[in-house]
């Protein structure tokens, strides 16, 4: 039976069932609550999607130790549900990917790198330079989907980082930009071999089983084969953003996509 803290949440084209411990936690998911389901519409659901995503009290207590002492229960629950969500999504060719994703010329592009490298900074520089030409999709953890036909899409998610940057827009992936801090700006395409490990590290999932790992690498192989991956060494200035923008644009023009 559905309880007050049970919600159907629509993510990357799928409806997932959540049971929240804290009554405030659903607030983080408010843009994603599936109102059709709430009204009682019947969907043909995959068995796996009927499984409720939730955090037990014991899990919450265990995770609490990794947070600041006064951190709220709802915030911890919200953060910890991300990995559980990603693990479930992996069964459907989707996974949460650590990046700042934005839409440009009808395609999704993403700055990706370990935390603190400057993903948000690079996005803000682009926004200052190119204004309405670009629109944020998600500032921290969008959902990547690899469709059976090989198309790759980036979708919004409720986990949009400390800046809370996110919009309800999805787009097919045009390219990935792996960031590295440097005193000088330089951009180059990454080879498949060079891209494998840095990109694998940005897929967010529990890494509990070999099966999950194999699924992520299967997604990664499609990504590397389908879209360009760039490495932008940069010092976080306007020139680096211009250099990156122009390199991608030039490659798109040469590839006949613009």
């Amino acid at each position: 039976m559905k309880k007050d803290n049970d919600f159907s949440i629509r993510l990357a084209g799928l409806t997932l069932e959540y049971s929240f411990l804290d009554e405030t936690t659903p607030e983080y998911f408010r843009n994603f609550i599936d109102m059709e389901i709430k009204k009682g519409t019947k969907y043909g659901m995959d068995e796996m999607l009927k499984k409720r995503i939730s955090l037990s009290k014991e899990e919450l207590d265990r995770h609490k130790r990794r947070y600041e002492k006064n951190e709220s229960i709802h915030y911890i629950e919200y953060c910890e549900l991300q990995s559980k969500t990603s693990d479930l999504l992996l069964n459907f060719g989707r996974c949460i990917f650590h990046c700042t994703a934005f839409c440009w010329n009808g395609k999704a592009y993403a700055f990706t790198a370990p935390s603190g490298t400057g993903k948000t900074t690079q996005y803000v520089l682009w926004k200052m330079l190119y204004g309405d030409d670009i629109r944020i999709i998600n500032g921290d953890k969008p959902i990547m989907e690899v469709k059976p036909n090989g198309e790759i899409w980036l979708h919004p998610s409720p986990w949009n980082g400390k800046e809370g940057m996110g919009r309800m827009e999805s787009a097919p992936l045009g390219g990935l930009i792996y960031l590295e801090q440097s005193k000088e700006n330089k951009i180059a395409r990454m080879t498949a071999k060079d891209a494998i490990l840095p990109l694998y590290g940005q897929f967010l999932f529990s890494r509990n089983t070999e099966e999950e790992i194999q699924k992520v690498f299967a997604m990664l192989e499609v990504v590397i084969n389908q879209v360009p991956v760039w490495k932008l060494k940069n010092c976080g200035d306007m020139d680096s953003a211009r250099m990156c923008h122009n390199a991608i644009l030039q490659a798109e023009v040469e590839g006949g996509r613009v």
């Binding site: 498949a192 071999k193 494998i196 490990l197 890494r207 509990n208 089983t209 070999e210 790992i213």
Partner: protein, 96 residues
């Protein structure tokens, strides 16, 4: 007898024509999260799942690569010892 045993929770992945050892969460305290290997490394990893005896491994590889066992052995030992150092394998002493 010295036996080389693959660490539980370590898997071998083939991606874009490259082979990578990858650790699950359970294996992470014992080894790196991931590391490239080559085709021979992948071949030996598959053998190691069923047999940890370096002598037997060298024999099987000798047949597979059509090379004398003595030529296989030094490279194999280096490979096994490196994986033990990294934690992807561990050594078990067994009787016999």
């Amino acid at each position: 007898m010295k036996e080389f045993v693959p660490r539980e929770g370590v898997c071998l992945v083939n991606v874009c024509g490259e082979y990578v050892f990858v650790a699950t969460r359970a294996a992470m305290p014992f080894c790196p999260r991931y590391q490239f290997t080559n085709e021979s490394g992948a071949y030996f990893w598959e053998l190691l799942k069923n047999c940890g005896d370096p002598d037997r491994l060298a024999e099987q590889a000798s047949e597979y690569y059509d090379l004398p066992k003595e030529e296989i052995r030094p490279g194999l030992e280096t490979f096994l010892n490196t994986l033990v150092e990294n934690g992807f394998l561990y050594v078990r002493e067994s009787e016999g």
